[in-house]
Amino acid sequence: MGGSRMQCDQFGRSFPDGLAGPGGNRLIAHLDACPTCRSRWRALRLGLRILREDSIRPSPGFEQALMARLAREARPPS
């Protein structure tokens, strides 16, 4: 591995948000040299892509049930 344990920790704290900053090139260089961080980053990218494709939507009756509940709440107690 191209980086020490400390370097990998630093990388984990700064990546990927630090890419656009002044240390961006150092982060990329670490990624280039360190198979562990490279493999971890690829796994993160792919995992997130799969997660983002998997949409969770409300069931068809969700909105109607909510509005009915709100209407009941708004009604003064009899």
Binding site: G12, R13, P16, L19, G24, N25, R26, I28, A29, L31, D32, S39, R40, W41, R42, A43, L44, R45, L46, G47, L48, R49, I50, L51, R52, E53, D54, S55, I56, R57, P58, S59, F62, E63, A65, L66, M67, R69, L70, E73
Partner: protein
Amino acid sequence: MQAVTADPRLAREVSLPHAPTAGAGDDAIDQDAVLVAAHLAGDPLAFTELVRRYQGRLLAHVARMIGDRDRGEDLVQEAFVRIHRHLGRFDPRRRFSTWAYAIAGNLAKNELRDRRRSPLVLHQTLTEGRQDGDRPLEFPDSSTQPDRLYRQRRLRALVEETVEQLGPAHREVFLLRELEGRSYEDIAEITGCSLGTVKSRLSRARTRFADLIRPHLD
């Protein structure tokens, strides 16, 4: 400082496909503010529009937080009821979306706390009971590629299970950032944590998520 030369191919590869930021942009915030004001002025359709804008996002967040879609719907309903009840006291200087996520997130955290107190309560997980119709149709040729379809579904289930393995506090930050595209400042406000805590939790969550899912992706 150590001089480095970045591999441009690698630099292209690491540029992140960022999470969608729908609802967090300035236009969306302005529309939320308009809808809140309209609701408070008596427009009967304004709150319905707020529900339509946020029901999917809040449900996705809460369902993944607690690992249960059906219960997630109950909690999001409850969140909207609370939002509706307290909208008159909403501080218009705040973002509606941040406030809504905080309410829904607190309900999810309470749910997880209650489960820890009552461990015998059975919960249907995200991956159980999922209907085929719930799936987005992004694999049109799947009928002729059953192996590929199976692998895609298995991967999705694994990824959802991996998210559930993150601790609740890390999972919340991870989902808000990576799926909802919220800023660090928003996440700090939603979770009631400092910016430093948000960044630290996100870094740990990313690393753990990657390490858990990596063996299944090779």
